[in-house]
């Protein structure tokens, strides 16, 4: 091998003195070298001193600053959302509960390119197409190092898939939480409402600081009305996180206070009975306990599944609900305005008696047609040829229009207005739900203000049978009949029955406030009207005798029909009439007659006659109430 190298090169490398070079002085070179080595060593000591000083500077002089920065690196304060209060029905059945679920959260600061990260997550987890845009919108209310929810209610599969890929997503975390769930679905939608993603509108209403960790808030119904009580008080956690923002352990905890549990006066079984009785028809049923103003039933049909809204409803689902026949989002029980029809008669009758316009035995002859002086168009009775001589009770029993045409004229529209207003017509009842319709209770002043026109006597005539301008809601009707049943105490109906604050042993009962104690001239007058209503069901000629219950139960009721289309002379409603032109059927009832425990108003849209279509619905609710009563 060495032979391959040029001879001189090899020999030089072997340490032979190259030709022509003087001899090395080893001793001198040794001294020279040691001088250099010493210089090097001194330089090294100097450099080490410098380095040491640098560490003194960092670790001693600037210790406080770096210790603080180190602490703020690892410790984060995170808000802890309180558990939302549960909601029960009157008998303790849970109607809104919290179920464990998982959501995906993202810390924008740690995640890197959000658009890319979200697109990547979209491959393992089902995300809507606009997830990135929606997230950008959502994160505005958070700071960049806060965790922002991206998707709720992950399926188990999605959680598992993410767990596999988790290392690829810094700052993304699956977080357990409690998701709202409504076990009864559409049955209670129009009462409970639902919770949805917290948005800017909600934040403007609530204390934003208390909602730092909260993702959902009540959007409608009880959930919205009692949001403050249901939400609770947010807590704080001091947690240690690693560089990816993952929580490793909790250092300190200031626990949240969970929201109040609410007990509703509603009874799910009664609600179900009303629901079933309505069948496929659109309509509403409201039942109130006349003794305390608590709402037992509040049904509006059709309805929708509130659970769809909790996770954020998809556009397709929302469209299908909007497009569904009968407008499921519309709460007929408190927003639906109906002509009261004959259901107004007991109140007109009571006005006549109490104001001394009629007496118990005051009689009117009905021949089927009632003429107003100067008009040749007759106001008709529903039975051709009329009902003959009737007093107030007979007039209620058979729903004789002529009797009330004349009574209305004798009272005059303003006295009717003033008396009926005491029963809550024409004003929101004060129920603990938002958005109630006030309805219309007409008067001269009202018409002038509303239309700028004078009042015509013919309008008073038809007001006597609840037609014309009158608009009532099922809730108003139920509350009015409850007031009639209990002898004149009108309350603001309440869905909330009791409230249990976190940590309290006992639930605190809620009482429906009294709105008005109606002055009573003579209690006998009230008995006369109530007897008339009893005869509607129990009289030989009663319009609703078909729903007469087995003794000993006695029901007082009154049917009504609200006109949808104007009726030509002598034309009768038949089954052949187009469904959307058929009248709305109404029925009021309370039971038991002697000691009223439930007052019901039922409306069946386009049902036709009140006694035939709506009365059985009311009866079904009363039956269910009786069964519940027996069980007690």
């Amino acid at each position: 091998m060495p032979a391959l190298m040029p001879r001189t090169f090899a020999s030089r490398l072997r340490g032979r003195r190259p030709a022509g070079q003087p001899l090395k002085d080893q001793a001198l070179e040794g001294r020279q070298f040691r001088a250099r080595a010493l210089t090097a060593f001194l330089l090294i000591v100097a450099v080490l001193l410098l380095l040491g000083l640098r560490y003194v500077y960092l670790q001693v002089l600037n210790y406080d600053e770096y210790a603080t920065r180190s602490a703020s690196n690892r410790v984060r304060i995170v808000p802890v959302a309180p558990n939302r209060g549960l909601i029960y029905d009157r008998r303790g059945r849970p109607v809104a509960e919290n179920r464990p679920a998982y959501r995906l959260e993202l810390v924008p600061e740690k995640a890197g390119d959000l658009e890319q990260v979200i697109a990547g997550l979209g491959r393992i987890i089902e995300l809507p197409a606009d997830a990135y845009a929606a997230f950008e919108e959502e994160r505005r209310r958070f700071r960049s190092f806060d965790s922002v929810p991206l998707k709720f209610n992950l399926s188990e599969e999605e959680v598992a898939r993410f767990a596999v890929d988790r290392h690829r997503y810094a700052g993304v975390e699956v977080v357990p939480y409690l998701a709202r769930h409504y076990p009864y679905g559409d049955l209670l939608t129009h009462v409970l409402g639902y919770v949805g993603r917290l948005d800017a509108e909600d934040l403007a209403r609530v204390d934003a600081a208390n909602y730092r960790g909260t993702t959902h808030a009540g959007k409608s119904g009880i959930e919205r009305y009692y949001e403050d009580q249901l939400h609770g008080v947010s807590g704080l956690e001091k947690v240690e996180t690693n560089v990816q923002g993952r929580t490793l352990k909790v250092l300190e905890r200031d626990p949240p206070i969970h929201g109040d549990d609410l007990v509703l006066s509603l009874d799910v079984q009664l609600q179900q009975a009303a629901w079933d009785a309505l069948g496929d028809r659109a309509g509403a049923v409201v039942a109130i306990d006349p003794s305390d103003g608590s709402v037992l039933v509040l049904v509006s049909k059709p309805a929708y599944d509130p659970n769809l809204f909790v996770q954020g409803i998809s556009t397709a689902n929302y469209r299908s609900i909007l497009a569904a026949p009968g407008r499921p989002l519309f709460n007929r029980a408190l927003l639906g305005g109906y002509e009261p029809g004959s259901t107004i008669k007991p109140f007109i009758g009571l006005a006549g008696l109490e104001l001394g316009v009629i007496g118990k035995d005051h009689r009117v002859f009905s021949n089927g047609r009632f003429f107003l002086p100067g008009l040749d168009k007759p106001f008709r009775d529903w039975r051709k040829g009329g009902h003959g001589w009737v007093n107030i009770q007979g007039a209620l029993e058979q729903s004789v229009n002529t009797y009330f045409y004349k009574l209305a004229l004798d009272l005059g529209i303003d006295r009717i207005h003033d008396y009926l207003a005491q029963f809550g017509f024409g004003a929101a009842s004060g129920l603990d739900l938002l958005g109630e319709n006030a309805g219309v209770l007409p008067s001269r002043a009202w018409k002038r203000g509303q239309m700028g026109q004078p009042w015509y006597p013919g309008e008073t005539v038809i007001a006597g049978i609840g037609q014309g301008f009158n608009v009532v809601t099922p809730l108003q009707l139920a509350n009015a009949v409850a007031t009639l049943a209990n002898g004149g105490t009108r309350r603001e109906p309440r869905l909330l029955y009791a409230r249990k604050h976190a940590g309290d042993a006992q639930a605190e009962k809620v009482r429906a406030p009294v709105a008005l104690q109606i002055p009573v001239n003579d209690p006998l007058n009230w008995d006369i009207v109530r007897e008339g209503m009893r005869l509607v069901v129990h009289g030989a000629q009663g319009t609703a005798r078909a729903i007469r219950p087995d003794p000993p139960l006695q029901i007082a009721g009154k049917s009504g029909t609200a006109q949808v289309a104007a009726q030509a002379e002598d034309e009768d409603m038949t089954d052949a009439t187009a469904a959307h032109l058929r009248h709305h059927a109404l029925f009021l009832a309370y039971a038991p007659f002697e000691r009223p425990g439930i007052a019901v108003a039922a409306v069946v849209e386009h049902g036709g006659g009140g006694s035939r279509q709506a009365a059985p619905v009311a009866r079904a609710v009363i039956d269910a109430w009786v069964q519940q009563g027996l069980a007690e």
Binding site: A40, L51, A67, A71, T241
Partner: protein, 371 residues
């Protein structure tokens, strides 16, 4: 004790340790350093015994290299030096053609294992220069100086091209140290230093973008705290928050929560500083000072030019590692991929370093041979 420091072996030690070729004080200091390093590594790797075990294997290989080389007399090394140097240059040329590695062609895959030819050069360059200057009169004349510069420049340029500027500078530095120790006149030294300083801006033009970024980041780390400035900021936070006595072994939050980048390799000193505080850092620096001082002492004892220059250069290069790494971790120097010698995890550097100490041992052990 004085006997021990002189390198005399106590009589009660087993025979094989009494052989003339081991410097026990140096060996003890190295052992202390390595043991300390393994403790820190255990913490820095997040309590991974597996990592510590693999590092232990490398140290084992390094110690075998140390023991073997310590038994080879310096003059034999000197004879083989040109071949080692030639082999190293050839391998560097080979990486140019068939190198593997992430974005750089530093590695050569030899089937059984991959290694960096540049590691060989860390020893081969000072060996070659010492061998070249050995028969010549010192301080070197202009011709010798030029040849010497050529010996260090060829591998340095090849390594810089890989691109691995850090290693290239280390390799070049080991050669420069040989020249310094060869007694180069101060005026020449200052002249060359002045030239280098003047040429430094030109370096900017040949640097890669990532290298320029590192320099910019070094100058102002807070300009991009989450990007390129992250390493240096988090490292300084770790060091500073360690305080005087540190947060305690396994209790460094910056390292445990993974805020320190490369925490078990290049930035392991940040972990050590955080957990053991200023006291730990100063102890470490003193240990390094002892090792380097001992190495220069051995160089001073040597009787041949080759041994002196080589021993001195190895010691000074070892210190350069410490200086660059400790400076980088504390934010005094830009981020360069230089490990903390004998403590940072991985790489072939630990084997090379221990092999270098094997040569020191040999020079110490054969100090009375004059050939």
């Amino acid at each position: 004790m004085r006997r021990l420091l002189r390198g005399r072996v106590p009589g009660w030690l087993p025979g094989w340790l009494q052989g003339p070729h081991l410097d026990l004080p140096l060996l003890a200091a190295l052992g202390l350093l390595i043991a300390f390093g393994l403790f820190v590594l255990y913490s820095a790797s997040g309590g991974s015994l597996d990592t510590v075990y693999r590092q232990g294997v490398r140290i084992g290989v390094g110690l075998v290299a140390l023991l073997v080389l310590s038994q080879v007399p310096p003059h034999v090394l000197r004879i083989w030096t040109p071949w080692l140097y030639a082999l190293g240059v050839l391998l560097l040329l080979a990486t140019w053609l068939v190198g593997t590695g992430r974005s750089t062609s530093r590695w050569l895959d030899l089937g059984v294992f991959r290694f960096q030819p540049s590691e060989i050069m860390k020893l081969a360059v000072p060996m070659m220069m010492a061998a070249y200057l050995h028969p010549r009169r010192l301080p070197p004349d202009l011709r010798s100086l030029l040849v010497s510069v050529g010996i260090l420049a060829v591998p340095a340029v090849l390594i810089a091209r890989q691109p691995d500027l850090g290693t290239a500078l280390l390799v070049a530095a080991s050669g420069v140290f040989v020249l310094f120790l060869s007694g180069l006149q101060w005026r020449v030294i200052f002249g060359l230093a002045g030239l280098a300083a003047a040429a430094a801006p030109a370096l900017w033009w040949v640097m890669h973008d990532y290298q320029r970024q590192r320099v910019l980041t070094f100058l102002d780390p807070e300009s991009d705290p989450l990007g390129s400035g992250w390493n240096i900021i988090q490292s300084k936070i770790a060091v500073g928050s360690g305080g005087l006595l540190g947060k305690g072994w396994l209790h460094g939050t910056q390292s445990r929560l993974e805020f320190i980048p490369e925490r078990h390799t290049d930035f392991i000193l940040a972990v050590l500083s955080e957990e053991f505080g200023l006291v730990g850092v100063l102890l470490l620096l003193l240990l390094y000072l002892f090792i380097v001082g001992r190495g220069l002492y051995i160089a001073g004892l040597a009787r041949t030019t080759y041994a002196r220059l080589l021993a001195g250069s190895i010691s000074m290069t070892f210190f350069l590692y410490v200086m660059v790494n400790a400076g980088m971790v504390s934010g005094l120097l830009p981020v360069v991929g230089v490990p903390l010698p004998l403590i940072s995890y991985g790489g072939t550097s630990i084997v090379t370093l221990l092999a270098g100490f094997g040569i020191l041992m040999s020079i110490f052990g054969h100090r009375n041979f004059i050939r």
